[in-house]
Symmetry: C2
Subunit: 233 residues, 2 copies
DNA sequence: TTTATACTCGAACAGGCGTTCTGTGTCAAG
DNA sequence: CTTGACACAGAACGCCTGTTCGAGTATAAA
């Protein structure tokens, strides 16, 4: 009969703690810890157990071990799926697309999301974001179609967003208009009789939303990135 | 009498070779080499000599050594003065502004420029650029005014550019039109009777440039970055 | 020459290090 | 129950590694 035990791809809490320590140590010292340092900090009493666990982590693709080399382990990209690596780079998952007819993903503020497919992510330098921003809950959307053109945003652009359900005046937000079945990016202004959504392009007309009409704020726009397809050859 | 010997801040060719090897090894393995690995690769026959040299490099601020720790040395920022460190981040200087009335800076392709004021620069993740792009000669311009609005580019946006004096069809270029005294960003198309410059916004009309009119291509647009002023408080 | 400093070399030491082996205990399937 | 896979502990082995020491060479100042 088939084994119904723990699947070999799973990670135990101890594995997570080891990966977290590896990332933290690497970040601080620019080198991996020794096995005995892992013992001490993760709370494992034998080097052989750490060796045992490291072999498992290697088999699962999180690290690469170099035989008989002190501190001979390297973190792979896959570790980003488990722990937030605090470096100069912020790893932001592209969780979906934004288009006129598509509903916007519903993400909770303050929660970090991870994508199964790591090809869909963008790395942003921390220096490009406000200093206060930790950025753990940022996510990105790929713009499909030309419906955001009056927000000065093109087909193919990447918008980096921060989860939010409300906004202050002057902030650019991603909103979902249920009665128009439309997602859009606009500057947000609250007024006494409702809301005004202003396009980034000042030559286009703002949209007024009466108080009784529905309006769902899905997040604030933090950054827009447009990659040109130059230099393909 | 004063010593006229080698000044203690100078770096011997051997020191340079060691620093180059340290940076290369660190880049490849995410850890520093051992002293004996330095011996072998740099061509020094005794570990004590390497130890001797590492102490000098530490005293001069290029590395930090951790006592009695295997591979216990860390590269400091100062190493960038000596060797080109290839990392995940690309440091792109903002060399000026781009606006309707301002001439565009004249930069040579293939030359790396550095700004004296390091506050004016953006860090871009290498993963956001095409794999082939080395990126040493990239520079950035800050957009001033709304004159680029038909290129879907806003006031305050950052455009990352690659120096170029010619372009292929479909590439977005920064051009200077001497007879109109204007800088602009447009998609470039060469035709038999001249050139056509198409705005990124398809609803705007393209500009046709006759063969006899002047047109100076200053560079290709690689990326556009728009930072929102959200989260200021 | 003498003296001082800088640099190099080889060897050895002591502890750090990855690795291996034996043994124990747990848990679920047969 | 027995069996086997899995997880953990402890000890030991032997190489790896940073460090230290004594000695030698070279250059330049006194």
């Amino acid at each position: 009969m088939m084994m119904v035990r723990k699947r070999s791809e799973d990670l135990s809490p101890k594995h997570i703690r080891i990966l977290e320590f590896l990332a933290k140590y690497q970040e601080e010292y620019d080198r991996p810890p020794s096995i005995r340092e892992i013992c001490a900090k993760v709370g494992i009493s034998s080097t052989s157990v750490v060796n045992y666990d490291l072999d498992q982590l290697e088999r699962r693709g999180f690290i690469i071990r170099d035989d008989r080399v002190s501190r001979g382990l390297r973190l792979t990209e896959k570790i980003k799926e488990v722990v937030q690596v605090v470096g100069d780079l912020l790893h932001i998952p592209i969780v979906g697309q934004i288009a006129a007819g598509l509903p916007l993903p519903d993400l909770q503020p303050g929660v970090a999301y991870i994508t199964e497919n790591e090809a869909h992510a963008v790395d942003i330098a921390r220096s490009l974001l406000p200093a206060k921003e930790k950025g753990n809950d940022l996510y990105a959307l790929e713009v499909k179609g030309d419906s955001m053109i009056d927000a000065m945003i093109n087909d193919g652009d990447i918008v980096v967003m921060k989860p939010a359900v409300e906004a202050r005046n002057g902030e650019m937000v991603a909103v979902w208009l249920p009665d128009k079945n439309e997602a859009t990016l606009k500057y947000f202004y609250k007024e006494k009789d409702g809301y005004t959504l202003r396009p980034a392009n000042p030559s286009m007309k703002p949209i007024h939303i009466a108080k009784n009409r529905q309006l769902e704020i899905k997040g604030k726009v933090v950054m827009v990135i447009r990659k040109m397809d130059t230099m393909k050859l």
